[in-house]
Amino acid sequence: MHPHDEHALDLTRRRFFGVGARSLSAGLGLLGLGAALGRDRALGMGLPIPETASGLHHAPKAKRVVYLHMEGAPSQLDLYDWKPALRDRFDQEIPDSIRGGQRLTGMTSGQARFPCAPSMFRFDRAENRADGVWLSELIPHTAAVAKELCFVHSMRTEAINHEPAITFFQTGNQQPGRPSFGAWSSYGLGSENQDLPAFVVLITQGFGNMQALSARFWGAGFLSSEHQGCRLRSSGDPVLFLADPPGVSRADRRKLLDLQSEWNARESERALDPEVRARIAQAELAYRMQASVPGLLDLSGEPASTFELYGEEARKPGTFAANCLLARRLLERGVRFVQLYLRGWDQHTNLPAELRLQCAAADRAQAALVTDLKQRGLLDDTIVLCAGEFGRTVYSQGDLTPTNYGRDHHPRCFTVWLAGGGFAPGITYGKTDDWGYNVVENPVDVHELHATLLWQLGIDHERLTYRHQGRDFRLTDVFGRVVDGLLTKRA
């Protein structure tokens, strides 16, 4: 191959699969523009080149992320943020001093009263590496791995409705149009894998009130589209159009690919355009993916112990357990960013019954994923993040009885947890007031969480930028800071 072509081909391959394993084996990735465009093209377009284009901003603590997005917003008050003082405040009005003129959603802004609804669930003390953490009876498996988890009780967000809040959590901005976190990661880090995309998305339908998903949540925004999350589907072709048409065998495909390549090679000789060579290589990759993806999904090689850990549900495609297991298999194969969605946490009414169902789906699987990664030695350099888009109110929406209540959206405080990747294991961070309404210690906002996650990946959030419409955009907009308190030691 002409050296010029070869270089261009190399670049093009990186556009989909990110950076080759070579640079990563040295512990370094190629940042952003290097991976996306090639330094030359970036320069040619007058784009700024980060001076670190040959590597990360600093030594990373983590290479991979698995992000469990609990869509609809789980109730922190019934799962993670224990408020024993509320027991005696059943049906009492939340004082104005606590609510402090907060804006409310259109769903409860007309409510005459804001009566306190203490959680009906029992909380037990789970051992961690600090003073222990009180967790709900609904999540016993998660409690059992509390030693590995870093709970942040003081998350805050800006949005009060699902669409803008999820868009904010995924892209750093409430309005559509920005790249998702996973896309930024793919842009910044590339992939460790040659046969799978850098950013994979898995969706589980839940039990309760389901909010919408949108391709924008894993979209590439203004980044080039190869950075968008690739959905692995649980029915039909796992990757769109992966399977050959009926009546076409693997041998047929090989034959056709050879014909296609030969024709393309002639075109390449005529056009002298490296893009043709790149297309030949992309077709070969497609051919390899046709084998690698089914292999990824084939669980027959998993030992019985896997299903003892994740539960038999993990055999049923599309369940949260199956997707957690799949996430581990993807991470093992070098996929950089795996995003799971579990829908159905939006319990405005009838919360206790629905939450029980949701937790039954989530608890064991998410704990199993942490345990599994730990056992395989992957947890050290893999970040697990489990988060909804906001929290839920301490006051009840709709009917309130000791065993039945609902909760509206609450942006002022909620709990997320992290594990692995240099996040301090077995601690809790941040505090909320006795009403579970406001953060009183160590608030963490979404930009700060993003900045901290990027930091652990070896990226300075202020320096991972992309110029679009005349402005250098970044995941954290003009905000964010690394929250040292969440980390074992700043990398």
Binding site: D40, G177, R233, E267, S268, A271, L272, D273, E275
Partner: protein, 1225 residues
Amino acid sequence: MIPPTRARAVIILVLSAGMSLVCAAGGGVKSSAPTPTYGRDVRPILSDRCFACHGPDAGTRRSKLRLDTFEGATAERPSGAAIVPGDPAASLVLERIHSVDEDERMPPVDSGKRALSEEERDVLRRWIEAGAHYEPHWAFVAPVRPEGPLVRDADWCRNEVDRFVLARLESEGLAPSPPAEREILARRVFLDLTGLPPTPEEIDAFVADAREDAFERLVDRLLTEEPYRSRHAERMAQPWLDAARYADTNGIHTDAGRQMWAWRDWILAAFREGMPFDRFLTEQIAGDLLPDATDASRTATGFLRNHVMTDEGGAIAEEYLVEYAVDRAATTGSVFLGLTLGCARCHDHKFDPVSQADFYSMYSFFDSVEEPGLYSQLPDPERAFEPFLVLPRPEERRERAALAADLNRARAELSLSTPGDDEARTRFFERIAAEASLSWETPEVLSAAAEHGATLTVLDDGSILASGANPERDTYEITLRARGEGLRLVLLELLPDSSLADGRVGRAENGNAVLTGISIDAARIDEPARRERVELGWAWADHEQQNGDFRVVNALAPGDADGWAVQGHEREGPRAALFLADRPFGYSGGSELRVRLEHASGYPRHVIGRFRVRVARASESLLERLPTALGTWHVVGPFHADSRADVFGFAFGPESATELDRVLEYSSEKLRWRSDFGLRDGALNALPSGVVATYVGRRVYAPSAREVPVSLGSDDGFRLYVAGSEVASREVDRGLAANQDRAVVPFPRGSSMLVLKDVNTGGVGGFYFRADARADELASDLVAGLLPSDARWTALDARLSLAWQLERSPTARDARDRIAAIEARATALEDGMSRTMVMKELAEPRSTYVLERGEYDKPDKARPVARSVPAALGRLPEDAPKNRLGLARWMLAPENPLVARVAVNRLFELVYGAGLVRSSEDFGLQGEWPTHPELLDWLAVTLRESGWDSRGILRLLVTSSTYRQSSARRVDLAERDPENRLLASFPRARLSAEAIRDSALHVAGLLVEEFGGRSVKPYQPEGLWQEVAMPASNTRAYVRGMGGDLWRRSIYTYWKRAAPPPTLATFDAPTRESCTIRRASTNTPLQALALWNDPQFVEAARALAARTLLETGPASSDAAPSAEPSTASAAATRSAGESANSDDARIALLLRRVTARNPDAREIEAARTTLVELRERYRLAPEDAQLLLGVGVAPIPPELDPVELAAWTLVASAALSLDAAITRN
């Protein structure tokens, strides 16, 4: 070894230096002393390293030093001036950037900014030396027509485009490339102008046309003659739809469907007729404000309504009104001005001279629209959201008028009451009253009190009026003295009162009321303590609100939130509700009745305002006359089962329901009854799909035990239960229709539960149910005849009279049926008319303020803004109206520096793959410097002076010699100009997603060409929408289109923003959530997979193969179909030589069709080898051939041998996957 990236980087830098050398001198004459210019060379350096602290944003400025203005940079400071023009040595800037002292050096180490390179420092030095001229940004100065440059090879130039391009090449010492081969040129211009490749015949015709101006003639034909003209419009519209963020759904939350395609059709028509750009712009920005506005010009304003919208329940309207206006301003800025106005929403623009106040001044052109901000979730996916325009076609207009005339005629017939009608009716009801001993009394009111604060006053007419406190919920308790015995009926009249909102019957702000319960106790007048409950078991009302579970029977069960809503907010006049006691009540000597009226719905203050209670005695015989009352349908399910038999046979639980218990959970899936007012009697109702059972149920209230004839339909089977006992069933596989089965259903007296189990065995489920009247039963409207005459106000009496006629008079019945038919047709006609969202100004514009940090709830009242344009770009013409129309006039004025440049740049980008300004969405300070500044200005001025003839510009661009060059990459340019900025050859480019699909359909002969119309739904993998949509979304189920819908051009494909068409997205189509000016062009394995395996490409390959086989002649025996392909293949019997020739010809034709090129021997041979192998493989496994041919629904010509066709299908598939197939050479 130096990594290749770095090696090339150096080369580019060298090249840019060379470029500046040419530009600076101008006129194409080389200068030996390159002087850096501020805008191109200096400002990028300062902006990147210095402006953050020494730039336009006063908020972040340090040391009071600004370097972005001449005054700021040259101001005398204690230690001297930062910049001393002409004297680099005295300029402190240079001293600081060169400093070796880390504390001194700029930019500071901790700023995260890179130190200046040697070259950059040199640029600054030379610029200061030359006088440090801060010339204004080129794009903010209005263009003037430059002189055409002198060139050496003038013969090469066909028009001015070439002169500018060649002058630049010559100055670089480069020669243009030779012309492209004619067949390649034909394919290029067909694709660029029409989005479709030429047919072999069209190529041949052009190649054979030896006239000097053959190419110009071809271009003219493509632009102005059908069918090319329409195709050209479709091609031109595609990037415009990206820019205008056009889609068929709202994008947020339920991502509801919207009807907007009339706007898309307006765009298509504009391109087809070659609309001048000034009108194209004006109508889209302000078509509603034109003095001679038409439906068409109003439709064009949909450009400003294409943004995403929300219907999320908790969203706040004010917030979204702001978002929508911001989007309009930002999109207008990007599309027409090439400016990133949106950046100034939260703070002054960091780079461009657009302040935050400027932004809100622009914004205020767009924020006074008659729109609600939030839209409710309605089931109709074809909805246009207010404000919208209804656009009947001429034939629809005519039919509407005809229907109106028919309706008037039928109504006139209906109102001709037969002599004696009224008398007969009176007699009829007198007879009923006599038979039933019906007699009404108005009891005396003893007391009236409200539990939660309202004041109840008894009026002279025996009615009771509520006033005073108006709590969210209230309960009234009144005590009455009734004289009669054997009482059976209770009448509740709701009366309008001038003290109530709008003079309606309810106390809600909108005049509505919801009664959630009525209960009555009776006691002897002298023993008031011994009260007994009067059980009520049936109810009737003259009117029930239709948009929820609001039937009057809900009031029979006090204690819950379900109730009777009277629609007082939308209908005037009184209401009447009639309740039936299970047993007679009332004591001799008089009774004390205690009546409780509850208002406990979720709707605050929906409490009755004025009412009266009356009672009547009646005998048992009346009960047979009363119609059966029906509750709202509820639904539970779907319940899944493993087999069809199980779905029918298995009792999932709800069949045994005897009460409508909405808390009870069925099965492990925890399913519960929920009301669904959308399920209607006498209509085809859809239910969930799959192998599932779904139950619908309702309460039924029978005044007497009775057998009710019902008419049923179901998809597929059904089982019907009353109070847990099966009364009818049908096990069948069928589609849904009305009246598929009839049954007589026995109901006990009082309330009972009716459950219908819909047994679905695949596809969508559904049911039909209608209860028919029994003989002698009064129709619902006739029940009003039982009311005392003074309780029958005019409107009710008119309805009664009508109902009477309908029941009793054959002419009236006939007229009624006709009216119903006409009304149904008229509704269908109106629903079917296209509608589209448009701009409509509020009568009073909103006051606009700067929003602090861009937040909707933080208007800075101290900073109101008026409508105006950014000061740095000019001002609205003096006499222009201060609205969008004035804005459009400003945009089109000769002084406007941006609009014409941006427009011609877009055309240049469309033809050459990249604009003269490569950052075509940003002409601001951070945008790119144009590659050919004079050409850009020449084109811009020419566009304006030609009467905004954008088609003329396009013609210039494609008829130039520049356009006709070969696209082969040149070794001598690969390193000097890898991006082909100089245009020394024609840029090769991958086709757009739409062109790739459309080309495949076209070469396959499948393309269905219909201009405009509703969006269509071609092949798409199952479940893509469902997996992301909310259960309530009306764009949850993707129902694939039929017939021609599968093969329309991609511009007509339905665009759901949350899940855009997957293959188009794979080839870089955006989500259309926000304005996209430039698409990326990636190259990924997913694209290869789509070309191989997406059924629409497999089907296209099959059709391409079939036409290749058919078109190369029935001719010789080798092509003849074989009846027994597996045993007597034609290939096996023919001579090898003949077959090879024929195969070769076919391969050549196939490839020519796809790539326009005649393949060479090597290419043909490769295909022949593969073909022979595939033919053999399918001969041995003909069942595989059948499987392959089964993909797609396009018919297969019966005369073709499946084995042969399958082999050719795969060869065609390989051809469609070629780089040359999806690339424009």
